[in-house]
Amino acid sequence: MIRHLAGRLGQALVASFGVLTIVFFVMRLSGDPTLLLVPEGATAEQIAALRHALGFDRPLFVQYLSYLADLARLDLGESLVQRSGVAGIVAERIPYTVELAAGALVVALGIGIPAGVAMAVWRGGMVERLLAGFVLTGQSLPTFWSGILLILLFGVHLRWLPTSGADGLSSLVMPAIALGALTMSTFARMTRIAVLDELSRDYVSAARARGLSLGAAVARHVLRNAAIPVVTIAALEVGNLLAGAVIVETVFAWPGIGQLAIQSIAARDFLIVQTVVLFVSVVYIGMNLLADIAYAVIDPRIRLDR
């Protein structure tokens, strides 16, 4: 089990190193930010001097090695635009994105999993058809579109919720729904399949032959068995949530790292973009490790297989 986790951690580190490298070079394909930083009417000499001061006149590969060296010393560098530490700028935005992602996860798990269980247990009936329509809606509306619809309905038309910004729980509701809808549908579909699969197994008939009601058999046995595939999806979905956050934060003017990433790409503030990517990879790795630990907690076959 420990060896397995260590192996997974190693793989994840290699993968995030790869992502970081790709981002480093792709960002620089579009040129350097010197021109965006110099005052209007600057001479060619002034531009060259600034470019030299910022180190952008060095060969790309040298810049890359120097970035890695800084990273190894846990030095994330300074923002080119804001002239302050990147670590502080990103850290300031993280709580907002965590709040948003947590809200979305509550929506996704809280609705998706019960909906999936209900669709499986009451298959072939009215309940399944209604829920299937609901799930399809969540799945087929693009995030920016559902975000705008929500703003128009609850923010502009009904005036129940604020249309943008991060100011208390009421402002979280719409962004969390917009971000969580797709993940909710994924959870509902996966849970439905997992529960259906388990319901057809002999141990369910055996539990019922022992006198358990279908509901009791589901609660005592089926849910835990069905949780194993759902946990896998959950870990992957956190990655999708963070990707979706970029769009939702832009639509709702939510001051998280997604919004920061978009602003920084436009300003060619390379180090901030790289740090956001680094943070997202670390979260993604953490979630997958958490999933591996969850398997062991759920399934004695993994836990006891040393």
Partner: protein, 318 residues
């Protein structure tokens, strides 16, 4: 065996859509008696068991008949009342013991479910039951998971969970089919002993005439959803009066057989429910079939020696 029967199945009929699966099946089992239902795969044994437990798949309906448990008709009682019957008055064990146990729950907790108590409250009783079904080192086994136990042990666990609340009836659907021959014999001995000790009426479903010979007091031979012949095992084995029974018996391997000699096999195949027509369903494969067999359904009738046979040629076979 003069006791009132523990279980009576009367004229049970099952259908899936328009196709009949089981047609007028009836039998009874006394306390302490083992009654075997034997027949080729697909003849309706498992659905009959599920109908008795009232655990039929959604697609299959009961279209007729009654199920009397200790004299009470349970075929129409509400599901709530049925839950008080299952596991308490009537239990069931399955073909694949490992698949019939939840892989994530300890075997002890699954046995305790039949007592409707958490394991902590009934641990002593569960341990006693484990010993009774021949599990060695029960203190350790009780907290293990199914994957840590062999198939034979898992079947013993299933038997423990089925019998711990002392039901009057046990339905065993191919309980040894998935097990090795030596383990198979041990499990059959165990069922036999527990049936007598606890006066449980056992319905044992199998496709194997060898199993019937080992354990059953009486046997009902099923073919294509109907009973072909039923009666005391000794009588039927000594002198089958239905051509299908005779062919099944001829297909049992015997120790006296010359090695690699060909077993008698029954030519043709079992018709599927959608192909059931008028007349005797075995007629297409029967060496004795005549025009009447193809047109008319032979009724199941007593032959006087405690046996029932559904064949127009029963007397000719004597």
């Amino acid at each position: 065996m003069s006791d009132a029967p523990a279980l009576v199945v009367e004229n049970l009929s099952l259908a899936i859509g328009p196709a009949g699966l089981v047609d007028g099946v009836g039998f009874q089992v006394a306390p302490g008696e083992v009654m075997a239902i034997v027949g080729e795969s697909g003849c309706g044994k498992s659905v009959t068991a599920q109908a008795i437990m009232r655990l039929l798949p959604d697609a299959i309906r009961q279209t007729g008949g009654r199920i009397l448990l200790g004299g009470r008709d349970i075929s129409a009682i509400p599901e709530r009342a049925m839950r008080a019957v299952r596991g308490q008055l009537m239990s069931m064990i399955f073909q694949e013991p490992q698949a019939a146990l939840d892989p994530l729950t300890t075997v002890g907790s699954q046995i305790a479910e039949a007592l409707r108590q958490p394991l902590g409250r009934v641990r002593g009783e569960v341990l006693r039951m484990l010993r009774d079904v021949g599990i060695s080192d029960p203190e350790r086994r009780i907290d293990q998971h199914p994957f840590e136990l062999s198939g034979g042990m898992c079947q013993r666990i299933m038997i423990a969970s089925a019998l711990i609340s002392r039901p009057a009836v046990l339905i065993a659907d191919e309980p040894t089919t998935a097990l090795d021959v030596t383990i198979q014999a041990q499990i059959l001995d165990l069922l036999r002993r527990l049936a007598i000790e606890r006066q449980t009426a056992v319905v044992l479903i199998t496709h194997d005439m060898g199993v019937v010979a080992d354990i059953a007091d009486r046997v009902a031979v099923m073919y294509a959803g109907r009973i072909a012949e039923a009666g005391p095992t000794a009588e039927i084995f000594a002198a089958p009066r239905h051509p299908y029974t005779a062919l099944l018996l001829a297909s049992i391997p015997r120790l006296s057989d010359v090695p690699k000699s060909k077993l008698a096999v029954i030519e043709g195949r079992v018709p599927s429910p959608s192909e059931y027509g008028p007349g005797c369903r075995f007629a297409s494969r029967c060496p004795r079939a005549d025009a009447r067999c193809a047109a008319e359904t032979p009724p199941l009738r007593p032959l006087g020696d405690g046996r029932l046979t559904a064949c127009f040629h029963a007397e000719a076979m004597a």
